[in-house]
């Protein structure tokens, strides 16, 4: 399978800042989860966040999308600093696909449209072509129980995508998949985002996944979470996954990230 790395047009210089996290701290009781965290993501940029589990990565996503408020510091998404304002521009894709068994695949994907008041028929008309384009042809009218793990995750991603929000927050989207499926899903996600550019924050525990999908990777420390290292991904973008992963530059970036994780 051909694999395309995030291209230069998604680089830092493109469209101004989309997400800004400034000196954000968050406590849960006595648990210091995030410590004066600073992050920036440009419009249509793709930020990968890797770190030990329990390092507050999911908390960070909740803060960005406005499901949670920081104890100190501020989070601004597309100029919106209130929780409700941020909620308007962010869509969250959790690790579990959370497809509703009472909805067909196509109606699961069109959920956000129906929530906005679009009729089910209109929602299906809009979503159906996406099923064709994103490797789900023929799966439209299946129930979630009839889909494989990879396909369920694709439907879940489409559901996030058709919410028409600029920011997609992906919380370990492929964490529950086997490694073969995960590898092809990473390529799939990368090309899907090339076709439909969005600003993405991808939380993962898989360094390779972050380096393959994103154009910038941040390594977070264990609790209290803070940024340990910031890696700009600049690896030749064409070739198979195997070739990219074997690229000396890729290897050195991976080593650097792994080292930061161990620190």
């Amino acid at each position: 399978m051909k694999y395309e790395m995030p291209s230069a047009r998604n680089g830092r210089t493109s469209g101004g800042t989309c997400i800004a996290v400034r000196r954000v701290s968050r406590w849960f009781g006595d648990n210091h989860v995030l410590d004066e965290l600073d992050l920036e993501v440009d419009l249509h940029g793709r930020l990968g966040i890797v770190g030990a589990s329990g390092g507050g990565k999911s908390t960070l996503l909740s803060l960005i999308c406005g499901l949670d408020e920081p104890d100190s510091g501020e989070v601004v998404v597309q100029g919106q600093s209130t929780a409700a304002g941020r909620l308007d521009c962010c869509a969250l894709m959790p690790q579990r696909d959370l497809l509703m068994p009472w909805r067909l695949a196509i109606d699961n994907a069109g959920l956000a449209l129906e929530n906005k008041g679009v009729s089910r028929r209109k929602a299906r008309e809009r979503v159906a072509p996406l099923f064709e384009r994103f490797g789900l042809a023929g799966a439209d009218y299946l129930r979630p129980a009839e889909l494989s793990g990879g396909m369920r995750q694709r439907v879940a991603f489409l559901r996030t995508l058709v919410s028409d929000k600029e920011v997609l927050l992906l919380d370990e989207p492929f964490g529950a998949l086997d490694s073969i499926t995960r590898a092809s899903m990473q390529a799939w996600l990368s090309s899907a985002l090339d076709a439909e550019p969005r600003t993405v924050v991808l939380v993962t525990h898989d360094v390779e996944e972050a380096l393959l999908v994103c154009n910038e990777v941040v390594v977070m420390s264990a609790r209290p979470g803070r940024v340990v290292d910031r890696i700009t991904v600049s690896v030749p973008k064409r070739g198979s996954r195997r070739e990219i992963v074997a690229e000396p530059e890729f290897v050195s970036l991976r080593e650097r990230a792994m080292e930061a994780l161990e620190a």
Binding site: M1, K2, Y3, E4, S62, C65, L67, L87, C90, A91, L92, M93, P94, R96, L98, M100, P101, W102, L111, A112, E114, N115, K116, R133, F134, G135, L136, A137, G138, A139, L142, R143, A145, E146, L147, S148, G149, G150, M151, R152, R154, R159, T160, S163, K165, L169, A176, L177, I180, T181, S184, A187, W188, S191, A192, D194, A195
Partner: protein, 281 residues
């Protein structure tokens, strides 16, 4: 980027379509219910043997065939109208309980204040045996059908309300969070997530309630009535017409089973996903 790279790689083809419709075959039915049918027939045989052999008097325990004969002979004169009366009481009372139970569950789910105010009272109310209240209710409300409806509804609403409420509470919080980021309002979350999630619990509650309904109807009739299966039993008992009492019991049982089956059928139609095996991949 070529579109081919977005195509379905081989390992992502749909999983084997899960048994979409289970076939109902005679073989399956026998495998499922054969054993319990055998036990039932065995018990019936023992019963028939004991009664036939004159080990016990007819007025103590009539044989099964005598009960059936009684049912046959009295159907037109007494039992048919009594069954109809009791059926109305339990069915309408059950419907009231369903509406009431769901209504209370929704109310308690939506308002924290109302939940704090009413939930403990709701639980406490179940410590009062409705059966004991029945005679008083009949005095207050009257001899007519409405007192029976109240008794049946009081007995049946609780399992429905509690199970539905548990269903609402058991909704995965992750769904609600996801819904909020997908333009989901409180109402839409309720309609599209919480309500369908709670359906299986709602139906569990309704099944329990359905089994209570005939008990409620009969107690209502015991407390004051001039028709219905409870009334028939009350009359036949002292006259030592045990066969007639048992015929009435049989009819009640059949009605209870039918009501439970009707609930199950409704569940199959409105929440077909409830009993399919879950995949966690």
């Amino acid at each position: 980027m070529t579109s081919s790279s977005l195509g379905t790689p081989p390992q992502l083809r749909p999983a084997k379509p899960a048994a979409r419709k289970r076939r109902v075959s005679v073989g399956r039915l026998i495998a499922t219910y054969g054993l319990s049918l055998l036990v039932f027939l065995l018990l019936l045989g023992i019963w028939e043997f004991i009664s036939r052999d004159g080990l016990v008097a007819v007025y103590v325990l009539p044989a099964p065939d005598q009960v059936i004969t009684e049912l046959w002979n009295d159907w037109g004169s007494v039992l048919r109208s009594a069954t109809w009366v009791t059926f109305q009481e339990m069915f309408l009372g059950f419907l009231i309980a369903v509406v009431l139970g769901i209504g209370i569950a929704v109310l308690l789910h939506w308002s924290k204040v109302i939940r704090r105010a009413l939930y403990p009272l709701l639980i406490a109310s179940q410590a009062i045996p409705v059966v004991v209240l029945a005679p008083i209710l009949v005095i207050i409300i009257g001899y007519n059908i409405s007192s029976k409806l109240v008794i049946v509804a009081l007995l049946c609403f609780f399992p429905i309300a509690i199970n539905t409420l548990d269903g609402f509470r058991g909704v995965d919080a992750e769904y609600v969070r996801m819904m909020r980021t997908l333009h989901g309002t409180r109402w839409l979350t309720f309609r599209r997530i919480e309500l369908p999630s709670a359906m299986p619990s709602l139906f569990s509650g309704m099944r329990v309630a359905a089994a209570f309904a005939p008990v409620g109807a009969v107690f209502g009739e015991f407390s004051g009535s001039n028709d219905g299966l409870g009334y028939v039993m009350l009359q036949a008992g002292p006259e030592l017409q045990t066969a007639r009492v048992l015929a009435a019991v049989l009819l009640l049982t059949v009605m209870a089973v039918l009501l439970v089956l009707a609930v199950t059928l409704c569940e199959r139609l409105t929440a077909p996903w409830a009993h399919e095996p879950r995949r966690n991949t």
